[in-house]
C-alpha cells in the first residue's frame, strides 16, 4: 500500500539534527543536547550512581530520546534513521553517563547495535575505561524459537526494562546488580508485533517495505523487517486471539502470574483501535487467570508512520512492581 508521499521536513540530510534541535528546545527542562547527538539529562544524576546509556537509530520516536530523564536513562546516543550509531559516538555516550560508578551500555538486540557496542567496548579497553559493561536486550518471540532467546530482536517490550532499570539505578546498585536487574526484566518479557501498512523513508522518500492493502504481517520487526509471513488482515479480536497465545506459551505466563501490559502503537494506528484491541487482551488474560498490574497504550516505540502495533507482557514480582511504580520524568514517559 502507498505510504504518505509528502513529509513535513526540510533538507533530508538535516532530519536528525533538526529533530533533535526541536525536541531539546521543547523539553529543555528535562534534556539537553551535547556533542555529536548525545541526549543527556538536563540535571545529571547524583555522583556515585550507575549511568545508563542506550544508543540506537532514529525513526522510533519517542523512543529513545523521550526516555532520558529522572528515573529513566542518563544518555541516549542518536543514530541516523534505523541505523545504530558508531563506536566512537557510543564511547562519548559512555563517558557522559559515567558518574563515578561506571556505566551500563544497554543494547537493543540487532546486528548493527551489537557489533557497534562490541567495538565501543574494545575502544573503552584501549582507553583504559574499565568500569563499563553491556547488556543485550531482546523480547520479540517471532525472531527465534524458544531455547534460542538470545538470538531474538529487541522491540517495543524493552519499554519495561527502561522503566524498571531506570528506577533501579536511581538507588545505590552497582554495575553488576544493574546488569542482573536488566536481565531479570528481559527474561520476564515477551513481545509480538503486527503491521497493516508500510512507511516511507523520509530521507529517500522510498517505501520501506512492500505490503498489499488488506494484508497484515505478524512478527514484524521494529524497522519493518518482515516477520512470520503475510495473511489477510483480521478483526481486532481475531488478531489478538492469534497473537496472545504464542506470547503466553513462550515464557510461559501462567494462571496466578501478575503482568504489565504494553500495547505499542507503531505509528498511525488510531488509539480507538488500540483500545478495542486492549479490551480483548484484558478479557483473554482474565480468562487465563493472569492478573494485569498496570497497562500502557500508545506510541512508545514507533516505526515511522507504520500502521500496526506490538503486544508486550512482562511478568512482575514485588520488586519489579515497586520499580514500576517509582517516579519517572522523561519527556514521553511520566510516572507520577
Amino acid at each position: 500500500m502507498t505510504a504518505r508521499p509528502h513529509k513535513l521536513i526540510n533538507e533530508p540530510d538535516n532530519i536528525v539534527d533538526e529533530m533533535l534541535a526541536g525536541f531539546c528546545a521543547a523539553h529543555n527542562d528535562i534534556v539537553r543536547l551535547e556533542g555529536d547527538r548525545l541526549i543527556l539529562r538536563a540535571q545529571p544524576k547524583a555522583a556515585g550512581k550507575v549511568g545508563l546509556v542506550m544508543g540506537g537509530g532514529s525513526g522510533h520516536e519517542p523512543a529513545m530520546l523521550g526516555w532520558v530523564g529522572r528515573g529513566l536513562l542518563d544518555v541516549n546516543i542518536v543514530g541516523e534513521i534505523f541505523t545504530a550509531p558508531g563506536p566512537e559516538r557510543i564511547l562519548a555516550g559512555i563517558r557522559a553517563a559515567d558518574r563515578g560508578a561506571g556505566a551500563l551500555l544497554c543494547v537493543s538486540h540487532h546486528e548493527g547495535d551489537r557489533l557497534n557496542a562490541e567495538l565501543a567496548l574494545e575502544f573503552c579497553e584501549l582507553e583504559g575505561i574499565n568500569n563499563v559493561d553491556m547488556v543485550i536486550l531482546y523480547d520479540d518471540i517471532s525472531s527465534a524459537p524458544k531455547g534460542r532467546e538470545n538470538e531474538r530482536r529487541g522491540t517495543a517490550g524493552l519499554f519495561f526494562v527502561w522503566k524498571m532499570l531506570g528506577a533501579f539505578c536511581e538507588g545505590d546498585a552497582d554495575l553488576a546488580a544493574a546488569k542482573a536487574l536488566a536481565e531479570k526484566v528481559r527474561d520476564n518479557t515477551r513481545s509480538l508485533a503486527m503491521s497493516l501498512s508500510s512507511c516511507a523513508s523520509p530521507v529517500s522518500g522510498e517505501i520501506m517495505f512492500e505490503m498489499a492493502a488488506g494484508d497484515m504481517e505478524i512478527g514484524m520487526g521494529l524497522h519493518g523487517e518482515i516477520g512470520r509471513g503475510r495473511q489477510k488482515a483480521l478483526s481486532a479480536d481475531a488478531t489478538i486471539d492469534l497473537m496472545l497465545p504464542p506470547i503466553l506459551d513462550d515464557l510461559p505466563f501462567r494462571a496466578g502470574d501478575e503482568t504489565l501490559v504494553l500495547l505499542n502503537n507503531s505509528g498511525s494506528l488510531t488509539l480507538m483501535e488500540l483500545f478495542i484491541l486492549y479490551r480483548r487482551v484484558a478479557f483473554k488474560l482474565r480468562e487465563a487467570g493472569i492478573r494485569v498490574y498496570k497497562s500502557w497504550i500508545g506510541p512508545y516505540a514507533t516505526t515511522l508512520e507504520t500502521a500496526g502495533f506490538a503486544l508486550s507482557l512482562c511478568r512482575v514480582d514485588g520488586q519489579l512492581k515497586a520499580l514500576w511504580d517509582a517516579p519517572a520524568n522523561g519527556a514521553y514517559m511520566k510516572q507520577l
Partner: protein, 216 residues
C-alpha cells in the same frame, strides 16, 4: 603501475564513492527486501564522508588514509555494515603502517587482514548471505593475480559472482536471518556493495592506465 601512493588511493576512494552513490537507490531497495531499507543511504553517506575527511588530511600516508576511512565507516555508516566495513579498513591499518608506496602484496596483506577482521567480528562464513560472500572470493582472486591490473579485474569479477550467488541463499547472519526461506530470491545488499567497490576500483585502474599510456 607497480606501486600506488596515497594520492592514487584517494582517487580510487573517490571512484568508489561515486559508484556507491549512484547505486544508492538500488542498495536501499535490496535492503528493503531483506532488512530495513537503509543500506544504500548509509554506505553512500559514509564513503562521501571518508572522501571529505581524506581530503582534509595533510600529506597523508596510506595507513592514515585507511584509518580515516575506517573511522568514517564506523561513525558515518553506522549499523551492522558500519561496524563491518569499518573493521575491514581498521584491520588493514597495521599492515600498511610506515609505507608510502604500496606494492601489490602490501595491499593483499591489508585486504586479507580486513577480511579476517570482518569474519571474526560478524561470525559469518561464505554461504551465510552476507558481504563475506563477495569479500572473501574477491580477496582470494586479487591475491591469485600477478599484478594490480589483473588482480583488480579478477577481484571485481569474483565479488560480483559472490554477490549474485547470495540471491539463492537463506541468510544466517544479519537482519535477514530472521526471514528464513523468504530471504532467498534477493541479493544481499552488503555483498552487492562489495562488488560495487571492486568494480569501481577496476574501472578506475583501467582508465588510469589508459590515460598514462596516452601520455607515453
Amino acid at each position: 603501475m607497480m606501486t600506488v601512493e596515497a594520492t592514487q588511493l584517494a582517487a580510487m576512494m573517490e571512484a568508489i564513492a561515486r559508484r556507491v552513490s549512484s547505486k544508492r537507490a538500488l542498495l536501499n531497495r535490496l535492503d528493503a527486501a531483506l532488512g530495513d531499507g537503509d543500506h544504500g543511504t548509509n554506505v553512500s553517506a559514509a564513503f562521501a564522508a571518508a572522501l571529505e575527511e581524506i581530503a582534509a588530511l595533510d600529506q597523508p600516508s596510506p595507513s592514515d588514509l585507511w584509518l580515516t576511512a575506517a573511522k568514517a565507516m564506523m561513525n558515518r555508516m553506522g549499523g551492522a555494515s558500519g561496524a563491518l566495513f569499518g573493521t575491514l579498513f581498521f584491520k588493514g591499518v597495521a599492515p600498511l603502517r610506515g609505507k608510502d608506496r604500496l606494492n601489490k602484496s602490501d595491499l593483499e596483506a591489508a585486504l586479507q587482514a580486513g577480511l579476517l577482521g570482518v569474519k571474526d567480528r560478524g561470525q559469518a562464513e561464505v554461504g551465510d548471505k552476507t558481504m563475506v560472500d563477495a569479500l572473501e572470493p574477491a580477496v582470494i582472486a586479487f591475491a591469485s593475480a600477478e599484478d594490480f591490473a589483473a588482480g583488480w579485474g579478477r577481484a571485481a569479477a569474483a565479488a560480483r559472482r559472490g554477490a549474485v550467488s547470495t540471491k539463492a541463499l537463506v541468510a544466517r547472519q544479519g537482519r535477514a536471518k530472521y526471514l528464513g526461506e523468504r530471504a532467498s530470491g534477493h541479493c544481499d545488499p552488503g555483498a552487492t556493495t562489495v562488488a560495487l567497490i571492486f568494480e569501481a576500483i577496476d574501472d578506475w585502474w583501467k582508465e588510469a592506465r589508459n590515460l598514462s599510456s596516452h601520455k607515453l
